[in-house]
């Protein structure tokens, strides 16, 4: 039956009492409360510095945030009890800081609107609503995807929908898809969707399942040139297609950030699946060539590069589509300095898009380098815990998907913060959990739900020992086995010897039922 290998393990389980792995859910709840505490303090600081009335409503806001998170926590406790306990608190803290910052910028913008005699509706109410919806979605994903491996079944359909969602804004007329020059939206009457955020996850699911099934294909070596094994030419197809799609986004949707993000995720997943650096090298060279071509063909790409090279240049600063935004972001960061101006005491609203793409500049201004570094560390911890889950999980699909999701998180923050701090050209994508925007929030909560699912699978004990019902007969079994040595592996006699043979199909005693799907090797 192919199971004799498991015999020593089963023997161990039978002789030792089953070891109960700690679920660490208590730790999670404690960390969540701590995150909420920090967020509440942050809100108090904003209100105090903005000279708003300090009322007990802040306390209630904090408590209700804790309440919503507790629901999420209970869902994790119920449906992913062995999940990593640090991921959700990190997310809660980031999301909370984001809400506080959005509220803080609301106050500034509202004041401006009052002075200009206009109406202003705060963005934070919408964002709070999105947070709640996101947490609901988070719970739904945890429940529906009770085993991440089931996702492999939907790999191709996910890929198809993902590509379609990604390409949709490019196909739609600009009037319903273009905001601030980036054609990545679908504008609906009441809200707008950035389908790319969801496509990111769908495409990662597709790539993971595709690479797991076709992994061998990419491992086949082609010709060897100067000591480097090149892949066969026909295997280059998928990577060429993905490079083309990403450059298509760059060109047709004018969205450098998404393009860069997607392509790097694809390359990293390919690398993880094949363990061959040559894929990364090849992919990067394709991308670089594509970028050079795009740079020479398109004004908006040239603009972004010029803004990056010298944002302080008066000509670049002053012109339309110039470096005003990034320069103001840098002024904010510089003004913040090491310790920041204090929450609510700076002027982050001077930077355009301070509550979306440039929210990290706002954090850098008001919380200083220290605050920005802390936020970056939160992202790193979040991604590293995800990566830990990927390392520990036993199936290749889980590893690929988990690794990809974790990397996507860091890559996205790299593109965002790198753009804001002039490390790379500014590209305009949202900071996960921090930035205003429903799509981003929803998608990233789905991402986190998947990470938790994978980490749960990683830490869950390989299998639960069977309940101790057969334990009593086992004691008598020895005597029975001595009597009938010719059938050592047959089940022990039932409690009443008169009944004879055990029913067919019952697993041999002392061997836990093994899930055939868990046979994958790391």
């Amino acid at each position: 039956m192919g199971q004799p290998v498991a015999a020593p393990v089963s023997a161990q389980y039978t002789t030792n009492p089953p070891r109960e792995l700690p679920t660490r859910r208590g730790t999670e709840l404690l960390l969540l409360a701590f995150a909420v505490f920090i967020v509440t303090i942050a809100l108090v600081l904003v209100e105090a510095n903005q000279e708003q009335e300090l009322t007990s409503s802040i306390l209630w806001l904090g408590l209700s945030y804790l309440g919503v998170l507790t629901v999420a926590h209970l869902a994790v406790r119920r449906w992913a009890p062995y999940a990593d306990p640090v991921i959700l608190p990190c997310v809660a803290l980031l999301n909370g800081i984001g809400l506080v910052m959005i509220h803080r910028i609301d106050l500034a913008l509202a004041e401006r609107a009052v002075q200009a005699g206009k109406d202003y509706s705060p963005d934070v109410t919408k964002q709070v609503l999105f947070t709640v919806v996101s947490l609901v979605l988070f719970v739904v994903v945890l429940i529906v995807v009770n085993d991440h491996r089931t996702l492999t079944r939907y790999g191709y359909i996910a890929g198809l929908i993902g590509i379609f969602a990604l390409a949709l804004p490019a196909l739609l007329p600009s009037s319903v898809s273009e905001v601030n020059g980036a054609k990545v939206w679908i504008k609906l009457p009441f809200f707008s969707i950035q389908p790319g955020e969801f496509a990111k996850i769908l495409l990662m699911i597709f790539f993971a399942s595709f690479l797991v099934s076709k992994r061998d294909l990419f491992m086949v070596a082609g010709k060897k040139i100067v000591g480097v094994e090149l892949p066969r030419a026909r295997d280059l197809g998928p990577i060429l297609i993905s490079a083309a799609v990403c450059l298509g986004i760059l060109v047709f949707e004018k969205d450098l950030g998404t393009s860069l993000l997607f392509f790097s995720i694809i390359l990293v997943m390919l690398y993880v699946a094949t363990e061959r650096v040559i894929w990364v090298a090849l992919g990067l060279s394709f991308f670089v060539v594509g970028c050079v071509i795009a740079y020479n063909l398109f004004d908006h790409v040239q603009n972004r590069v010029a803004n990056w090279l010298d944002p302080m240049d008066p000509v670049v600063y002053g012109r339309r589509g110039g470096s005003f935004q990034i320069a103001q972001g840098l002024f904010g960061l510089g003004t913040g300095g090491m310790g920041g101006t204090g929450l609510g005491a700076g002027r982050p609203d001077i930077v355009p898009e301070a509550n979306t793409d440039f929210i990290t500049a706002a954090i850098g201004e008001e919380l200083g380098f220290i605050g920005l570094a802390a936020v970056l560390m939160l992202y790193l911890i979040l991604a590293m815990r995800g990566m830990r889950g990927a390392l520990a999980v036993r199936d290749t699909f889980g590893k690929l998907l988990g690794g990809g999701l974790a990397f996507a998180m860091v890559m996205q923050i790299f593109v965002v913060v790198g753009g804001v701090t002039k490390l790379i050209p500014e590209t305009g994508i949202t900071a996960p959990f921090l930035s205003k925007g429903g799509s981003s929030l929803l998608a990233n909560y789905i991402l986190v739900a998947l990470l938790l699912r994978i980490s749960d699978a990683a830490r869950k004990p390989a299998a639960r020992p069977k309940p101790s019902v057969p334990q009593a007969p086992l004691a008598e079994a020895h005597t029975v086995m001595v009597q009938r040595p010719e059938t050592p592996l047959v089940a022990p006699p039932p409690p009443t010897p008169a009944l004879g043979q055990p029913p067919l199909g019952q697993p041999p005693l002392g061997q836990p039922p093994l899930d055939p799907s868990q046979g994958g090797t790391a």
Binding site: G336, R347, G364, A373, K399, G418, T421
Partner: protein, 489 residues
């Protein structure tokens, strides 16, 4: 596939480290560059939101500029008491139009960024108290300022009055009319500021010009104090005989230079020439003294100094090229290219009053920390370090000025004030004979123990037109200022 996953993990770590390193570069290394960039409006907002210090008059502690809390993003509104009267002193502090006057010159103290306030800023940071600006105490005497300003505006004169303490250089009054209300420029709405700004800008009388220190005028006969000093130093005495001819032909030209009204000088001594302000003797003096001696004498009065600040920058007064005898003749009576600021003109009297030594004019008495403890007291300083004339000659010139005052008409005469003065009626413009002259009056009192030196200019004859003279127009204002200081006599 754990090996590549671990490598990806390391790559993630490297990416975040890169971000942190770059953020350190931006927020720590380059922070000052970015913070102080002129396009960074945060600094401006922060400054406006800080409680700016007060500007106070020294003699009675009257507050000239203060802040009042406002319920907007700037938190405080700058307000000026008697704004128009003190505008030449305080200047303005406008969100859209920057600042001027003391508001600009003492900005570091007033906004609290002066290095001398550093320790206090630190303690504010620790105690969490909002940082405040320091205060500036002025040498201005509100009584003198008010007397001069009120009379100038009552008469509707365009011009300036400067008064100072001869012994210390402390400026007691600095009036420039017509004036403007700095309160309007300090308004918090752009519209109000714009209205006030354009109104002042488009006014042909240019109310925002600080005539006392930023405008130069031909000093006319008041410049004879300089010529007389040079002559006294060159060995002449009060009784030296001088010509009483009604006019003199400018050397090398066909042009004649005549006494006021073309009349012969009533006396034949140097003393009479000054008392009656006869032009011919002084023109010939200047010609005899020559360019070097005249320039030297003028320099010792401070004329020609280009870097004088009180602490506002004072426009440079000068004699012009003096490139011919004719030019010397005309310059000797304060015409041609001789141009003085009213402050410099006041320095002429003040120097004579102080025994020949010019004192550096100053407007700031002391600088106080937000808690009113003194940061710095300004002490009197000599302007050039070299006396313009010996104290004996200064006493002679003083007596000559006392005599001059005796012959000077105009209102406000009060023998008890013991004024020593010199008037001036300065021609100007392209058609100088048909343009109403500037009326000057400069003097000090009491003559035996000078407490105040004053200089008045009324542009273009005030309300008297062509017939205006220094005595008939400007003298009463100078006397009113002196009276305000000396307490009615």
């Amino acid at each position: 596939m754990n090996t590549p996953l671990r490598k990806v993990g390391v790559a993630m770590l490297v990416m975040v480290v890169l971000l942190l390193a770059n953020a350190t570069y931006i927020q720590v290394v380059k922070a000052d560059d970015y913070r102080t960039d002129s396009r960074n409006t945060r600094v401006l907002y922060e400054e406006y939101a800080r409680q700016r210090g007060q500007i106070v008059a020294s003699t009675n502690g009257a507050v000239l500029a203060k802040v009042e809390p406002s319920n907007d993003k700037y938190k405080f509104k700058r307000t000026y008491v008697d704004g128009a009267m003190y505008a030449p002193v305080t200047g303005y502090y406008s969100i859209n139009y920057g600042s001027a006057g003391l508001e600009r010159a003492e900005d570091d103290i007033l906004n609290g960024s002066d290095p001398r306030l550093f320790v206090r800023r630190l303690s504010d940071m620790v105690t969490g108290r909002d940082p405040r600006g320091g205060n500036v105490v002025l040498t201005i005497d509100p009584a003198v300022q008010k007397a001069a300003y009120d009379l100038m505006t009552q008469r509707g004169y365009t011009g300036s009055v400067v008064a100072m303490e001869p012994k210390t250089g402390r400026i007691l009054a600095m009036v420039s009319t017509p004036s403007y209300d700095p309160n309007l420029l300090a308004a918090h709405t752009t519209k109000e500021q714009l209205t006030a700004w354009t109104a002042s800008r488009d006014d042909p009388k240019n109310p925002m010009l600080n005539r006392a220190i930023s405008e130069t005028y031909p000093p006319g006969s008041t410049f004879k104090l300089v010529t007389a000093s040079a002559a006294l130093e060159a060995g002449m005495g009060p009784d030296t005989t001088v010509t009483n001819a009604p006019n003199v032909k400018l050397p090398g030209t066909q042009t004649t230079l005549e006494n006021y009204g073309g009349a012969p000088c009533p006396g034949t001594t140097f003393k009479d020439a000054l008392a009656h302000s006869c032009n011919v003797p002084f023109a010939t003096f200047a010609g005899q003294l020559g360019k070097d001696k005249l320039t030297k004498a003028a320099q010792n009065f401070g004329i020609g100094q280009s870097d004088l600040t009180v602490p506002m920058r004072v426009a440079q007064s000068g004699l012009g090229p003096l490139d011919s005898q004719g030019a010397l003749y005309q310059s000797g009576i304060g015409q041609r290219d001789v141009k003085l600021t009213p402050l410099q003109d006041c320095l002429l009297s003040a120097t004579v009053a102080n025994g020949g030594m010019a004192m550096k004019p100053q407007l700031v008495q002391s600088v106080l920390a937000p808690d009113l403890s003194t940061i710095e007291n300004y002490s009197p300083a000599q302007l050039t370090g070299t006396a313009a004339l010996s104290s004996a000659n200064a006493a002679i010139l003083r007596d000559m000025m006392v005599a001059s005052e005796g012959f000077t008409g105009g209102g406000g005469k009060d023998g008890a004030l013991q004024i020593a003065s010199k008037t001036g009626t300065a021609e100007h413009g392209t058609d100088s004979k048909n343009t109403a002259p500037h009326a000057w009056y400069t003097g000090f009192a009491p003559s035996n123990d000078p407490q105040i030196a004053v200089s008045v200019i009324v542009e273009s004859g005030g309300n008297r037109g062509l017939a205006a003279t220094g005595g008939s127009v400007a003298a009463e204002i100078g006397r009113a200022a002196i009276k305000a200081k000396l307490g009615g006599g």
